[in-house]
């Protein structure tokens, strides 16, 4: 179970580092809020899509995440995913979307 939470967290961290060049030290700081990472509203929904696409659910109110720290975000997303999957946080999943030909 713990491993699946770590997978969810690294999915988000990898996206922030690779697609938005967020510094690793910023991510390691437990006080950093999502809004401090330099993500605009488009960047935020792009990040959420990475998670939505893998776990097959749709976040209705993405705005609320900008006030959260990364820890809070992972906890919140995990409970949202569990609610959509009968209480389970799935492990290895393939993304549904092919971004490149």
């Amino acid at each position: 179970m713990r491993r699946n939470t770590e997978m969810l967290r690294s999915l988000i961290e990898n996206f922030l580092r690779q697609q938005h060049g967020v510094d690793a030290s910023k991510l390691a700081d437990p006080n950093t809020k999502m809004q401090d990472l330099g993500l605009d509203s488009l960047g935020m929904i792009e990040m959420l899509f990475e998670v939505e696409d893998k776990y097959g659910f749709h976040v209705e109110t993405p705005e609320r995440y900008s006030q959260m720290t990364l820890d809070q975000l992972v906890v919140d997303l995990e409970s949202t995913i569990r609610a959509a999957h009968g209480g389970v946080l799935p492990g290895e999943l393939e993304p549904a979307t092919k971004l490149d030909a």
């Binding site: 792009e46 939505e52 549904a96 092919k98 490149d100 030909a101």
Partner: protein, 434 residues
Amino acid sequence: MGAFFRASSSRPPSSMPEVRVTGLGLLTPSGLNVAESCAAWLRGESAIGPAPEAIRELLPQALAATVPDGWQQKLQRAVQGTDRSVQLAAVAAAEALQDAELDLPGETDPERIGIYVGIGLAGANTLDNLYATFYERLYRPDAAGHRNPAMVHPLSVPRLMSNATAAMLSILYGVRGPTHTYSVACASSALALGEAYRAIRSGWIDRALVVGCEAMITAGAFLAWNALRVLAQPDPEDPASSCKPFDARRSGFVLGEGAAAVLLENAESAQRRGKDGHAVLIGYGSSSDAQHLTAPSVDGQARAMRAALRDAGVAPKDVGYINAHGTATAGGDIAESDSIVNVFGEHASRVPISATKSMHGHLIGAAGAVEFAGTVWSVAHGEIPPTAHWRTRDPKCALDYVAEGARRLPDLRVAITNSFAFGGTNVCLVVRKN
């Protein structure tokens, strides 16, 4: 009224600035930059081959001209998630600005520079992937990996919008002037060049970054083009020679992808930076056939060429080279040969004509700018590429198509390049040596 119209269609007053070509960039199936691409064309070397496997599963005979790998690592971070057409454009644009030694933003008034983009089917890869994901995995409840069908990528719209390339380039380079996108099928980027030239001539802007780009080597696009019966049959001996413009054995074109970028500058602004540029863009003409969605018109093509020559103030006999539209379709090549005879009269048989689509394929929206860049290169270097694979004379195409290989033309002063689009829009651009 009549006098006004006559005056406006005659040669513009000499107070209008000259428009110099000070930067070129190419990312084509033939090469990753201008030097590689132009060298391959002079050698008569074709970049045409079998289409990617996903397309050949549906169309086993399909041919394509794809851009070779080796450019992706040049992409700026902001461009990495964009449609392939935007990515190809960004690489070509960077080369053109480097060639022009123009640092953007910063070195120039950002409101006096414009971005003019020509593209046929913007966002083709994004759209194909979107529909593939939707129909293969999201929509069908029994599909492997079936998900909520409403969940498509949130950046789908900004990735596939027609002005995605122009928008990205304006952001990358801080360009705040006109940011226009022209989608006029196979004449898109030739028209973009012409309209940018006019904006500089009339004093609206000093510089324009003009880009043609196209990336629709996708299953959906191939099925559509194939159904239209305009694609070349593979040559049984040498698939690379399948596109044979003006040859009696021609059977159509090969779909290609790529990008070209051209920096046009008001001559005075260029000279202030110590730049003479590669050549001068001296004339632009466009016309509409008002006749048929796909069939070419000799009258429409001839009117575009005449308008361009009149705009340039040059006579047909002054033209020393024609870079043809030359798609290798049965009717298209006859119409173009006829329209050249119509405009050039006796001189038609003396002007060398080459169709480089025989080597780089048909780049649709990018074709006009790619072939313009090739024409500028030829005028600047005094050497023209051949029409590759020409062997068999068609009595209906009886002109000089430079079949023997590249030709040295040290006295070449003026050249034209033709771009004729589905929908009936024709564009001709006139280039003069510096």
